[in-house]
Amino acid sequence: MDRVPVLKIGDLLLVSIQVDLEDRLTTQLQEDLAERIVSTGAHGVIIDITALDIVDSFVGRMLATIASMSRVLDAETVVVGMRPAVAITLVELGLGLRGIRTALNVDLGMAMLRDLRQLHMGLPGTTPEDGARDLAGIS
């Protein structure tokens, strides 16, 4: 049975989507992810879509669902690695990814989650200006 692996890196979870998603796989992924967030106490989720050629409204909704689900469990979600062709198609179709943060690659995604966490926890060494990055998410 196909499954999308959920990898734990430090206090983050990494999901790399390599195959076309259909309903059952999506539901499975959401269940697995919720379970892992709770069991590991992760505070961030990175979803890598480098391998996806097509992002349609179905995938968009799935990403939004995962993002809001993680937020309930106190974990922020970043979608990384969107291909230029995918972005162009989304723009041409007038589709946006509402309520989803994006970053260019896994590295930048991890940095973004770290900044968000620091801001959230009010840890020393952060300035209010870091909050601007939070607001920059696609709305």
Partner: protein
């Protein structure tokens, strides 16, 4: 025109060769006003004259005749070189039509036979003139399409300004095809350099209408979808006025008046502060 007329015309052309070439050269030189070397022009006219003469000797009765193939080649070369050197259509056509005038004044005994032959030749020259014109236009079209292809390649460099900041200086009018190229190049560069900041500099864009603004917005949104932030810079005062009067909404897109401000903003957002180094001679 029949074969006999063609033969007679060949003889006529051979007979008046020096005088006709002289007068023809004078007409053509006057139109071209010294922009083409005297010897080169004389050579071109001589080539055309010889080709016309041998076409008649070969029994060519129309401009499309197989015997006139060499003549057509000569004319194609002539009009192509004129088109590439930037001469106008009139200046190109006069090189052919000038022959009629030159020949007519060179004819000494204008009897009925000669005049009827001359009319036949005149019709032929008209056809050749049209042919030259057609080739000239085609050559010009080729030059234009070559140039626009070159423009497309040259005009969209993506430059790295800083670690994590890339910029696209846009020069010239933005149409759909160009903005598509810009968008693809920019997004590709974002992936390759993993830069979280992109600056679109429109200093070189002469005018921004709703269509251009639409293209800019699409590029910005696509970059944001991929997780980068896009800044539009280089907005001139007139363009700012146009944007406002057209009612174009840039939404929450960051816009700056010049590239330097945009770079400064990008650096500050990525947590880099630039400070002046204190020097011994500092005041």
């Amino acid at each position: 025109m029949d074969d006999k007329t063609a033969k007679r015309l060949a003889v006529m052309l051979a007979e008046h060769r020096p005088a006709v070439l002289e007068a023809w050269g004078a007409t053509a030189r006057e139109t071209l006003r010294g922009r083409l070397g005297r010897t080169e022009l004389a050579r071109q006219l001589e080539d055309t004259y010889s080709a016309l003469q041998s076409a008649f000797e070969g029994g060519a009765t129309t401009a499309e005749d197989p015997a006139a193939a060499e003549l057509r080649d000569v004319l194609v070369d002539l009009s192509r070189s004129r088109a590439r050197q930037g001469f106008s259509a009139t200046e190109t056509a006069i090189s052919v039509f000038g022959l009629k005038e030159a020949l007519f004044s060179a004819l000494t005994d204008k009897d009925a036979q000669t005049l009827s032959d001359y009319t036949a030749l005149s019709l032929m020259v008209d056809k050749l003139g049209l042919f030259t014109f057609e080739t000239y236009v085609n050559a010009r079209d080729a030059v234009i399409s070559e140039q626009s292809a070159q423009l497309m390649e040259l005009s969209t460099p993506v430059v790295k300004l800083w670690e994590g900041v890339v910029a696209v200086p846009l020069i010239g009018t933005l149409d759909s095809a160009r903005s598509q190229v810009v968008m693809e190049r920019l997004l590709q560069a974002l992936v390759e350099t993993s830069s979280p900041f992109a600056i679109l500099d429109i200093t070189g864009v002469p005018a921004v209408d709703t269509q251009v603004a639409q293209h800019l917005l699409k590029t910005v949104v696509a970059a944001q979808l991929m997780g980068a932030r896009c800044i539009v810079s280089g907005i001139r005062p007139q363009i700012a006025q146009t944007i406002v009067s057209l009612g174009i909404e840039f939404g929450d897109i960051v816009t700056k008046a010049n590239l330097s401000d945009a770079l400064q903003y990008a650096l500050r957002e990525s947590g880099i502060d630039i400070a002046r180094r204190s020097t011994s001679s500092g005041n």
